[in-house]
Amino acid sequence: MTGGRVVVVGNGMVGQRFTEALRARDTGRRWQVTVLAEERRPAYDRVRLSAFFDGVSAEELNLHTPDDGVELRLGEAATAIDRERRVVVTAAGEHPYDAVVLATGSYPFVPPVAGRDLPGVFVYRTLDDLEAIREHARGRRVGAVIGGGLLGLEAANALRLLGLATHVVEFAPRLMPVQVDEAGGAMLRRYVEELGVTTHLGVATTALRPGADGAVAALELSDGRTVDAELVVVAAGIRPRDDLARAAGLELGPRGGVLVDATCRTGDERIWAVGECAAVDGVCHGLVAPGYATAEVVADRLLGGAATFPGADTATKLKLLGVDVASFGDAHGTTEGSLDVTFTDPATRSYAKLVLSDDATTLLGGVLVGDASAYPTLRASVGGPLPAAPLALLAPAGGAAAGAGALPGSAQVCSCNAVTRDDIDAAIAGGCADVPALKACTRAGTSCGSCVPMLKQLLDAAGVKQSTALCEHFDLSRQELFDVVRVRGIRTFSRLIAEHGRGRGCDICKPVVASILASLGTGHVLDGERASLQDTNDAYLANLQRDGSYSVVPRIPGGEITPEKLIVIGQVAQEFKLYTKITGGQRIDLFGARVDQLPQIWRRLVDAGFESGHAYGKALRTVKSCVGETWCRYGVQDSVGLAVALELRYRGLRAPHKLKSAVSGCARECAEARSKDFGIIATDTGWNLYVGGNGGFRPRHADLFATDLSTAELIPLIDRFLMYYIRTADRLQRTAAWIEAMEGGLDHLRAVIVDDSLGLCAELEAEMARHVAGYSDEWRDVLDDPERLRRFTSFVNAPDVPDPSITFAVERGQPVPAGRARPVAAAAAPDGEAPARRRQPVTLGLPEVRR
């Protein structure tokens, strides 16, 4: 049986992973896949569920990508498996199968206490649960969580974020009893209580009592006390969902769960089980990493492979209520003769425990609370020799000091995706020279991300130097150059290269220095020596096109323009016979201008009140906007007004890469603000700021950075964000990559520009204030200066002769470059094997555009 119809019951994280794994391996399309999903949403990241309360949208948690080889039936729960007729039954019909994969997960266990069905009592399992919790929390003040384990503490944090005073009731004498030992639990409790969460340990909830409105109002505890709470989340553990299997007569594990062997197959050779509902050799695993492992096993088996369940990695690392907690291997020291080494530091408030074999040579497991920086190295070392002396490992930042270089080849570096050190080393040997390449090649670091620091260390250990030198002329990185220029007050490239570099410079370092000088407000970009540093777009203040002509883009702030100005643009285009196109950034691009025409075109535009749109620079381009509350029925703020203000504030700002922005007047997001380097979306009470998005090669949505800001709060935040980016980003690094590469990522960025952790904010704001005050239109400055104007000729010895190589054909009634076939040399370029591009005739079969 290595083909046919497979019905997957469940579209949680593991069911989704199984589907993806099967589709990736089943290149011959032997299996036709049907997925039955009880929820109406396709698979989402349940591990990051709590991020929903941090402003992360349901869409961002989505794990599902459409696949034409998979039929996903949302909102259609399986109700029975008829093994004789080989059909899975749902309320909507029957699905015949050759194989069934049960991925039904688990359900939250709710202890049988009185009042558990009262309104205001919730579980914490699905996005629907979270939405219901948020709804009920509105206007209420006190909440409680039953259960102080991992999920319970997450739920407690969620209630805090919803503004509720929060209680946690845990039956065990410590928090996180499964993962953490007594001393670790005590440390954790101190952190949690400092956050204002009240803990009640060693007590059970005996009943829930309603208030006057019929909803829950209080918890009665086993020690006789009563805790008032208007919202209760039950997070008291999970149970495997095995009812379907039970009804179908399949054997269950001793503590429930669908009993399967190490191949994840049930007693029925056509039925398999994966994830939390599967009792592999009798044991259920409630974590995603072992679940993923079972998904991979079944995908392999269905295609005739021989994979078996490799054993569960129960390691967990979490940031619970802002506290790092990690637990791995034999955390409780249950191995016979095992030894403990513990380390408690009240000053840094960290606790660590290592469990070692009886001869103290082999690491068996451990617990970390407060500082979990050693976790990746330690977890990967479980079962092998210690990478360093125990005390060195446990000292603050010990894990980093020990280094990943000491790990054995079989050590699992990324447990989410089962990637070993050998896999990583092989990828490095195969040419992966940085972390993004390793991620793409091995999948390591693409799930929880905790192993990313180790990937860097392994690159170092393999001798892959990730040089930050800008080019052969400068050993400094762009950030270092920026600091040198700023601190030493250097204002010319020749002095900079004489004192800090070598040679004459090149097309890499010259534009970087030009950009740094421009960001620091050192005068017109074409003055003196600076002209020779500019890339051709900046050198002619226009965008070079394929035929050697340029395009012209006047600024239209926020996309708002008067009819008079529109007419001028039309007249200029007509007069100079320019191709005209409305761009993606709400501006009008005029193509086909020769170098010698640029000043004449701009004379007309400047006289009509236009200024440079900086479409040619690594600079702020546009701030798009929707219509906003002025006209739109849905708009809640003046998005156009803000977009215009922002575009004018940051116009001319040179940066390591082009910058784009947008403002949407409501959550409908018509301006697509989340695909921008910084985007703003209006709320009922103010503005939400998103940062680090981009379109382009690797599209990326921006992350929510700050919420419900007044305009007065918003502007300084953007000022600091932009200036910090300009100061510290690499050459041609967009904001998304800049934040991703930052140690600490978005949290670090927030610390620097919201909490002022580096004491830089005032300086960054002052630098922006200088930029805003010093702005003057580059084209107006050129037109006013005959020296600058002299450069805008096609030929130095024939200023009145137009470039004869620039000629036009007509397409859809407008001029386009004539003779667009690429020259012969292009066929050999750039790597010798790319075939010459063939232009697709798009007019074929399309109706003629009527004019």
């Binding site: 090149c506 097309d507 010259k510 051709t536 050697g548 010895n797 370029a829 750039p830």
Partner: protein, 125 residues
């Protein structure tokens, strides 16, 4: 920059081009290029340090007459210009492309006499 120099250097025959005066030296800005029309041909002239270079203005990869608008610099000890279209780097002395073996731009002779820049086209092949 005398008239006499101009007349004496005019090219003697069509198949053996001579020196053509182009412009005063100060019209070439240091570390930059300009385009010139010489006998109907587009020539890119560069001034770096004390040296003058002349190449065809046509970028052989991109197919547009734009090399004069590239960034001038060096690679190793070699003076270079990078095409503004797709940044391939050419040796200013020989016209050879340093990024793509086998690709080259024709070069021309250039000199400065009495403050005047002169070009002599080379028509190989």
């Amino acid at each position: 920059m005398s008239i006499a120099t101009d007349t004496s250097t005019r090219r003697p025959a069509a198949d053996a081009p001579g020196w053509s005066p182009v412009c005063p030296l100060e019209r070439l800005e240091p570390e930059r290029g300009v385009a010139a029309l010489v006998d109907g041909a587009q020539v890119a002239l560069f001034r770096t340090g004390d040296e003058l270079f002349a190449l065809d203005n046509l970028d052989p990869i991109g197919g547009a007459y734009v090399l004069s608008r590239g960034i001038v610099g060096s690679r190793g000890g070699t003076p270079t210009v990078a095409s503004p279209l797709h940044k391939q780097v050419y040796d200013l002395r020989t016209g050879a492309c340093l990024d793509l073996p086998g690709v080259a731009v024709p070069r021309h002779d250039v000199r400065c006499r009495d403050g005047l820049v002169e070009v002599r086209l080379r028509r190989e092949g």
